[in-house]
C-alpha cells in the first residue's frame, strides 16, 4: 500500500535541482514587459490621465488607461461559477478603474520593451484626481454621509445576514445565567507567498494563451473570458509550478489585464509580474474582522444564550464577497452547540483599503481568535478549567449543521485535546503558573477548531481525472486539481497507485495544468483536493482497472473477475499468483495486430458531501512584562484530518500553518497611514516569521477513518493556521491575568495592556 507511507515528494528532485519551472522560467522569444500604474490616493476618481510625455520615451510600446478599457465589470474570486444569477460572484471592477477605491488601485498600464522603459514611462504619466475622504474602517464607511465606494451598495454594506438558531431572548431569560461579554479585533495580514503574482500572455491566430502562477487555471480561463467579453474556448490557461498561493492565487487579478495588453499589441507576448510592494497592496489580504460576543452560561459551564456581532472589513473590492465573514459566522455554530440559542449578525463592509480575499482557512482564524479567547474568558469567570468548558459544549459525533446539512461523520477532537494536555503537562502547569509575580512569567494556553472539507453545499464541488496506460505498463495521471506546494501531486500518486494496483514509481503525474488538455477541476482551495478530487481519482481508477482487466482477460483467456492488479502485475485474485506483467499487457494492447486498444479512463465526480476536520493547539509561553515580549517555549498542534495519505508531508503542512499562525499571533500586520497609504508593504517592515522567530514545531495526529471520504481523509491544508493565535493569547491570559483581545500580540500593545492593568507603571514593574 502506498497510502499511509511517507514517500518523498514526486516533485522534490526537480525543486532541489532547479529544474522545476515556474512562470518566470520560460523564455518565449520576444517578451514585452507590462507594468501597472497605481493610484496614489485611496478614494476618489481619476479625472484625467496625460500619457503624452510617457509615450515619447524610448522602448515604450503601448499605454492604456482606465479610459481605454472595455466597459465590463467582472468577478475575480476563484469560486466555481454559478449558473443562477443570484449566486454569482460580485462584479465590481474593470480591467483598469476610473473610480479609485484603494491606494494602489489599477488605473493605467504600460507595455514596453523592458522593465526599465516600462518603469520610466510610469513615472512620466500625469494623473489628475478628484479625491474623497479615505474610509479606513467599517465604522467610518458605515457613518452617515460617507462616500459610497460602489453606488450599488448603500451604506457601503456589501452584504448583511443573520444566522439564527433558537430564540435568543427566551434562552437569555433563563434564571441563574452568568453573562460574559467581549470585543475582539483581528488585523490585516498578507499571504506572503515567496513567488510574486506573475503571468504572461500571447496570441496565436485568434486564440490567447495565458501562462500564470495560479491555484485555479480553469477558473482563470472563465474570468479572462468574462472580463474581456470573448468566448471561453478562445482562451488557453497554463499553470506551471507555483511558488505558493495560500489563497491569494485563488483569485483572478491580473491575468485578464495581461491578456488584454497582449491583444492591444497585436498578440505579442507580454509578461506582467508584480513587485513585492505591489503584491502587498494590490492583491489580497486577510480580512480584519471585529467581533462582539455575549454569552449566557450556566454555572456548570453549559452555554445557553449566545449572541455575536461580526463586522468584516472588505476593502475596496468585493473579491470573495460575503463568503468569508459568513464562514467565520458558521464556526460559532459548528464548534460549540448551545443548549438554547445562537444568534450571529454578520456584515461585510466596503472600505478604501486593500481588498481582502481568500487566505488560508477562509475566515476561521479570525473567528477562532474571537471564539476561543472568549471561551477562556468564560472559563475564568466560572472558575472552571477551560478544557472542561470546551468538552461540555463542543461538537459531538453525529452533529448535523441545521443550515447546510453537513454532518460530523468522524471526530477525533476529544483525543486531540487529551493528547495535547498530556504533551504540555496541562494540569500540572496550569497549577504551577498560578499566582506568579516578577517581570518574567509563564503560562499555558490552548484552543480548538473545526473545519469543513471543501465547499459543498455552498458551492459546486466537481473534479475530474484522467489515466492513460503507457507502453511500458506505467500510467500517466492527469488531475485538474493543482499542486501549489502542498504536496497534491505526491498524494494523488499514492492514491492512484493503491486504487489501480500499480507501484507508485509506475505512476507519472502530469504536474502542469493546461486548460486545452487538462480535465476540469476548480482547483486548489478550501482544503478540498484530497477529498473532492480524490473521489474523482478513485472513480477513474475503477474504470481504468476494469479496462486493464478486460484486456488481461482477452490475453489470458480467463474471466476478468478472477484476476486482480497488484504491484503492477495481473495476479490471480484467489492465490495472488503473478500471471502477467503490466509492461507485457501494455505492449500487447498498443501493438496487437488482432486487438489494439489504447487503455485510458477519464471521469468526473460531482461531490455531494462534506465532513469536519478538527484539531487543537497547546502552547507554553514566557512573557517578559517590561519588554512586552512573548517567547513561545513549546507548541504543539494535534490534528484529526482523518487518514493521512502521507504522514511526513502532512506534518510538514502543519509546520507551515503553525508558522503562519505564529506570525498572526505575534507580529504580522499591514499598517496604513491616515490617508490610506500602506506603511509597511515590504519584507523589511512587514514582520514575516524568520527561522529565528520560530520555535521548534511539534505535531501529532489522531487518525480517524472518515466514512464519507474516498480514503478516510479530511481537510488538512488550511486548518493548521487556525488555532495558534488564540492558544497563545490564552497562555498570555494564564501567565499574566491580562486579556488582550486584538492581534497581533506585539510588544507595543502588550506594554500598553500591562500598563492599563497595573502590571507596569511608567515602564517599571508595578507588581
Amino acid at each position: 500500500m502506498a497510502i499511509g507511507k511517507s514517500m518523498n515528494r514526486v516533485d522534490a528532485y526537480e525543486k532541489v535541482t532547479g529544474q522545476a519551472q515556474y512562470t518566470d522560467d520560460f523564455f518565449e522569444g520576444e517578451m514585452l514587459t507590462a507594468k501597472v500604474l497605481h493610484s496614489t490616493i485611496a478614494n476618489g476618481w481619476v479625472k484625467k490621465i496625460d500619457t503624452s510625455e510617457a509615450e515619447k520615451l524610448p522602448g515604450v510600446v503601448k499605454i492604456v488607461t482606465c479610459f481605454d478599457v472595455p466597459d465590463i465589470q467582472f468577478p475575480t474570486p476563484g469560486h466555481p461559477w454559478s449558473t443562477e444569477e443570484a449566486h454569482q460572484d460580485v462584479s465590481d471592477r474593470k480591467l483598469l478603474n476610473q473610480r479609485v477605491r484603494l491606494y494602489g488601485d489599477d488605473i493605467a498600464a504600460v507595455v514596453a520593451l523592458d522593465s526599465v522603459a516600462a518603469s520610466r514611462a510610469l513615472k512620466a504619466i500625469r494623473v489628475e484626481y478628484e479625491e474623497y475622504l479615505p474610509l479606513l474602517s467599517p465604522e467610518e464607511a458605515m457613518a452617515e454621509g460617507a462616500p459610497l465606494m460602489h453606488e450599488e451598495y448603500p451604506g457601503n454594506i456589501l452584504k448583511h445576514h443573520t444566522l439564527i438558531e433558537g430564540d435568543y431572548e427566551k434562552a437569555a431569560s433563563e434564571d441563574g445565567l452568568l453573562f460574559v461579554e467581549g470585543d475582539f479585533q483581528t488585523q490585516i495580514v498578507q499571504h506572503c507567498h515567496i513567488e510574486p503574482p506573475i503571468s504572461y500572455a500571447y496570441m496565436k491566430k485568434d486564440r490567447i494563451t495565458v501562462v500564470s502562477s495560479t491555484q485555479i487555471p480553469h477558473i482563470v480561463r472563465r474570468v479572462v473570458g468574462q472580463a474581456l467579453g470573448i468566448p471561453w474556448g478562445h482562451i488557453r490557461v497554463i499553470k506551471p509550478y507555483i511558488g505558493g498561493g495560500f489563497g491569494n492565487k485563488q483569485e483572478v487579478l491580473y491575468e485578464p489585464l495581461n491578456a488584454f495588453l497582449s491583444m492591444q499589441v497585436g498578440g505579442r507576448c507580454v509578461k506582467l509580474e508584480l513587485t513585492r510592494e505591489e503584491t502587498f497592496i494590490c492583491t489580497r489580504t486577510r480580512h480584519a474582522i471585529s467581533f462582539h460576543e455575549t454569552t449566557g452560561v450556566r454555572p456548570d459551564g453549559r452555554l445557553v444564550a449566545r449572541r455575536v456581532k461580526i463586522v468584516s472589513n472588505q476593502g475596496g473590492y468585493a473579491s470573495h464577497g460575503h463568503a468569508i465573514a459568513a464562514n467565520a459566522a458558521n464556526e460559532f455554530r459548528h464548534l460549540y452547540q448551545a443548549d438554547g440559542a445562537l444568534e450571529v449578525d454578520v456584515s461585510t463592509v466596503y472600505t478604501s483599503m486593500a481588498s481582502a480575499g481568500a487566505m488560508r482557512a477562509y475566515g476561521i482564524p479570525q473567528a477562532a481568535f474571537a471564539l476561543e479567547s472568549h471561551m477562556d474568558d468564560i472559563a475564568l469567570r466560572l472558575g472552571m478549567d477551560p478544557i472542561e468548558l470546551r468538552k461540555k459544549n463542543m461538537m459531538k459525533l453525529g452533529y448535523v449543521d441545521p443550515g447546510t446539512g453537513i454532518a460530523c461523520y468522524s471526530s477525533g477532537l476529544e483525543e486531540c485535546i487529551d493528547r495535547g494536555m498530556a504533551y504540555i503537562h496541562w494540569a500540572e502547569k496550569r497549577k504551577q503558573y498560578q499566582n506568579q509575580t516578577g517581570p518574567i512569567r509563564r503560562g499555558v494556553g490552548m484552543s480548538i477548531f473545526s473545519y469543513k472539507t471543501g465547499v459543498y453545499p455552498i458551492s459546486l464541488e466537481t473534479a475530474s481525472c484522467r489515466m492513460v496506460l503507457n507502453q511500458d505498463g506505467t500510467m500517466q495521471l492527469q488531475m485538474g486539481a493543482t499542486e501549489i506546494g502542498q504536496g497534491a501531486d505526491t498524494v494523488f500518486t499514492q492514491m492512484a497507485a493503491d486504487s489501480v494496483g500499480f507501484l507508485p514509481e509506475n505512476v507519472h503525474i502530469v504536474s502542469f495544468q493546461d486548460t486545452d488538455v487538462t480535465p476540469f477541476d476548480t482547483g486548489a482551495y478550501a482544503s478540498r483536493q484530497t477529498y473532492v478530487s480524490g473521489m474523482a481519482l478513485k472513480k477513474t481508477a475503477g474504470i481504468f482497472r476494469e479496462r486493464i482487466l478486460d484486456y488481461a482477460s482477452y490475453m489470458l483467456q480467463k474471466p476478468a473477475d478472477s484476476m486482480d492488479i497488484r504491484d503492477s502485475w495481473i495476479v490471480c485474485r484467489e492465490t495472488g499468483e503473478q500471471l502477467l506483467g503490466m509492461d507485457a499487457l501494455a505492449m500487447e494492447s498498443f501493438y496487437s495486430l488482432d486487438n489494439s486498444v489504447h487503455i485510458t479512463a477519464e471521469a468526473t465526480n460531482h461531490c455531494k458531501s462534506n465532513t469536519f476536520a478538527f484539531g487543537a493547539c497547546f502552547a507554553e509561553i514566557e512573557v517578559d512584562i517590561p519588554l512586552g515580549k512573548i517567547k513561545v517555549l513549546d507548541i504543539i498542534n494535534i490534528h484529526d484530518s482523518g487518514v493521512l495519505i502521507n504522514p511526513k508531508l502532512a506534518e510538514a503542512q502543519v509546520h507551515g500553518g503553525m508558522s503562519m499562525g505564529l506570525g498572526y499571533a505575534l507580529g504580522e500586520q499591514l499598517l496604513y497611514d491616515k490617508k490610506g497609504k500602506p506603511l509597511n508593504n515590504n519584507f523589511l517592515d512587514y514582520k514575516l516569521q524568520t527561522s529565528l522567530d520560530t520555535p521548534e514545531l511539534h505535531v501529532d495526529f489522531v487518525q480517524t477513518v472518515d466514512p464519507s471520504a474516498p480514503f478516510g481523509n479530511k481537510a488538512l491544508g488550511e486548518p493548521p493556521a487556525i488555532p495558534v493565535a488564540p492558544a497563545i493569547r490564552n497562555a498570555l491570559l494564564h501567565a499574566t491575568g491580562v486579556a488582550v483581545n486584538s492581534l497581533p500580540l506585539n510588544p507595543q500593545k502588550l506594554v500598553e495592556a500591562f500598563t492599563e492593568n497595573g502590571l507596569l507603571n511608567g515602564g517599571a514593574l508595578h507588581v
Binding site: 511517507s6 528532485y13 525543486k15 532541489v16 506572503c192 513585492r276 507551515g656 503553525m658 524568520t690
Partner: protein, 164 residues
C-alpha cells in the same frame, strides 16, 4: 551600456555581455537561463536569489553583474555530480521533506552549501541564525533546519573520519 565580463559559472568559464545596470540575478536568469535563481523581492529581503560568489552566499538581486567579473559563481544547477547524482544537501532536503512550493529552496540550499562547506559543527540555534536571511512561508523552517542540520552533521562526521 553593454560590457563583456568573464566569470566561472558552475565550473565553466563564461563570457557574457551584460548591461552594466543589471543585477547578477538577472544575468544568471535572463542570459544564462539558470532559473534556479529565484526573485521574490528584488531588494535583498527574502534570500530566494542566493548564489555563491567565490564561496560566499550573497543575494544576487542586489549584486551587480559587473561585480562578478573574474569571480566564481555557483548556483543550484552546479551542485550535481558529473553523472547527475545529487549532492548530500539536495538529498537531505528531499528526504527530510524540506521542500514544499520549492521557490525558496534553491536559495536556502546555496546557503547550506556555504554552511556545510565550512566544515564546522554548528548547533541547531546557530543554524537557525545562519539561515535567518531566507524567508519561507510553507515550511515553518522546521524541516529545512532538519535537512541543513543533517547535512552539517554528515559533512562534519565525514571530515572527522578523514583525520588520522
Amino acid at each position: 551600456m553593454t560590457k563583456i565580463i568573464h566569470c566561472t559559472v558552475n565550473g565553466q568559464e563564461t563570457e557574457v555581455a551584460i548591461d552594466i545596470r543589471e543585477s547578477l540575478a538577472d544575468m544568471l536568469r535572463q542570459r544564462l537561463h539558470l532559473t534556479s535563481v529565484k526573485k521574490g523581492c528584488e531588494v535583498g529581503e527574502c534570500g530566494a536569489c542566493t548564489v555563491l560568489v567565490d564561496g560566499e552566499a550573497i543575494d544576487s538581486c542586489i549584486y551587480l553583474a559587473d561585480w562578478a567579473d573574474g569571480k566564481h559563481i555557483l548556483t543550484v544547477e552546479g551542485l550535481r555530480g558529473p553523472n547527475g547524482e545529487l549532492s548530500p544537501i539536495q538529498q537531505a532536503f528531499i528526504e527530510e521533506a524540506a521542500v514544499q512550493c520549492g521557490f525558496c529552496t534553491p536559495g536556502i540550499i546555496m546557503s547550506a552549501v556555504e554552511i556545510v562547506g565550512s566544515g564546522k559543527q554548528y548547533t541547531r540555534d546557530e543554524i537557525r541564525k545562519l539561515i535567518s536571511g531566507h524567508l519561507c512561508r510553507c515550511t515553518g523552517y522546521q524541516n529545512i533546519l532538519n535537512a541543513v542540520e543533517r547535512a552539517v552533521n554528515e559533512a562534519y562526521q565525514f571530515l572527522q573520519q578523514g583525520e588520522p
